[in-house]
Amino acid sequence: MNNNETLAVNDLNFAYRERKVLQNINFSVGNGDICGLLGPNGSGKTTLLKCINGILGNGNNSIKVHGKSISSLQREEIAKLMAVVPQELHLVFSFTVLQVVVMGGGSRFGLTGTPKEKDYLEALEVLEELGVPHLASRIFNELSGGEKQIVLIAKALFQKPHILLLDEPISHLDFKKQYTIMELIKKITREKNLTTLITLHDPNIAGRYCNKLVMLKEGNIVYQGSREDVFHAKSLEAIYDIRVQIENTRKGGMYVLPAD
């Protein structure tokens, strides 16, 4: 087992009844990687994340974490390996932010366990680490989109995972917040040596923050590899079906825009 393979997906196939959603998916991600999943709507990005998390298609041995298949694992054991940050979370009841973050520890407390004083303090520390301790006693539902996203990341971190799965975490956010959240994700991935998988819509964000890319189209991987290798006009044109050009900025950054 090599350290560069925290998460390995081997020959994953998934279908909703007859409709094939994912076919022959093979890739691996290592510690410290931020792997971006790119592809148009309906290309299978979210389904792929759910398969990796074992929520869909459990029972085949295609997902391995540290070389061990997750299909033999209980939900609780999977939760100790990976945490999910959803696109958005709508709660029916008015839980406070601290209560929401503490829920992330559910897999550690045991079936009959309840969080103790020290767990609440620890959850508060996570909020402090992310710079939002002042949100702790606020009602989660009353937060802004960006604040909610930070709290969901805090909840995922409190789960103490090796792998972080983020499903379009910034699609609802304004221009500045998108970058704030992405910087945060970059920082925690580096500091905690996480393996981060993130589905994104904006290739510019992907090009800026992800060191690895997996590009999907109609359930197949069409390109994958390091950013340097696969982030080019040809690959983006192949998945999005639109002519693009990549401009280089004076500072060495790149940005993608539709070709004239």
Binding site: M82, A83, G106, G113, T114, I139
Partner: protein, 337 residues
């Protein structure tokens, strides 16, 4: 945290006061001092001529009734909190999966078939109440296994058993059976004996203890199925566990005192307004507040100047406007749809 412990202490004290008030008042008034004396007498084993009537009223009539009201109120409220939590819908009542319709059908059938003892009626109500939920659960799990299919299955099963109940009421002997069925469907505590209390106590206390032990995990289920799974919950098993024990306690309460509406819907709401949505505190608080609420309602109905009326009338009469009030202030705090 601290604040919530205090809320539990306060509601316990209120419950004890309510119980004392309930024991004193009624058609036959018993003095507070007499209650103390009667209890002392019972423990010393001696008897007192003067206190024989109040003693009889207290031990044989009032105490079992008070305990049963507390048990039923707790059971319905805890079950309501559980169902609202796992279905992520604050408008859900404990009878959402058909337990009340099933139990009413069962009780009516026993009466219709001339069951001789109250025990048989109770047993039939318990059996059919549980069966109704099992059927609803089977139907609900066949489809895409979502909360919506489960709720729809509950509606379907309720409709079938309600039709069965109507049929039996239509066919029943209008002088003997019909009034018994009608009275049973309205619910009440006026026929409660110690035997009922013991049976209900065993089932309800076991059910509530199990739910209490697993209470915190309801928070995870209340966030959503996939969310809960990613946080380490095996939702199929967890949901089955909560539904089973919540159903059993509602069935036990319904079997011994008929269907009593609104308590299981409204009390969890009130509890959330006071202690918030965290099930760690919500479950014990709902149990205590539910017991208090039901006991107060029962004490009111049996002390009404015109004579006793079925308790469902007053729980609906007070519960429905309370829900209207909650709906009107919905955009504030407790919950959002």
């Amino acid at each position: 945290m601290k604040k919530n412990i205090n809320a539990l202490i306060v509601v316990t004290i209120v419950l004890i006061i309510a119980a004392i008030v309930a024991l004193i008042h009624g058609q036959y008034e018993i003095g507070l001092k007499d209650i103390w004396k009667i209890i002392l007498l019972k423990f010393s084993g001696s008897s007192n001529e003067e206190l024989s009537t109040p003693s009889l009223v207290l031990w044989s009539v009032r105490l079992p009734r008070v305990i049963m009201a507390i048990l039923a109120g707790s059971a319905l409220s805890v079950a309501g909190a559980v169902f609202q939590g796992i279905m992520r819908n604050p408008l859900v009542s404990p009878s959402i999966l058909g337990v009340s319709s099933g139990a009413s059908f069962g009780a009516a059938m026993a009466i219709f078939l001339s069951a001789r003892t109250a025990f048989l009626v109770e047993l039939s109500a318990l059996f059919w109440g549980l069966l109704a939920v099992i059927i609803a659960y089977k139907i609900g799990n066949r489809g895409i296994n979502s909360i919506t299919t489960l709720v729809l299955a509950g509606v379907i099963v309720s409709a079938i058993f309600s039709a069965g109940l109507s049929f039996m009421m239509y066919q029943a002997d209008p002088y003997e059976q019909l009034p018994a069925i009608v009275f049973w469907t309205m619910g009440g505590f006026n026929k409660i004996l110690w035997a009922n209390v013991f049976r209900a106590f065993i089932i309800i206390s076991i059910g509530i203890i199990v739910i209490y032990v697993f209470r915190w995990r309801l928070n995870l289920l209340a966030t959503g199925d996939e969310e809960a799974m990613s946080m380490g919950v095996n939702i199929k098993t967890a949901r089955a566990l909560y539904v089973t024990f919540a159903t059993v306690i509602v069935a036990a309460a319904t079997a011994s005192c008929g269907t009593i509406g609104w308590v299981g819907l409204v009390v969890p709401h009130m509890s959330r307004m006071i202690v918030g949505p965290d099930h760690e505190i919500l479950i014990p608080f709902s149990a205590l507040l539910g017991g208090t609420f039901m006991l107060l309602m029962d004490t009111i109905v049996r002390n009404l100047p015109g004579g006793e009326i079925p308790i469902s009338i007053i729980t609906s009469f007070l519960g429905a406007p309370f829900l209207a009030y909650l709906l009107m202030r919905q955009n504030r705090q407790e919950w959002k749809m």
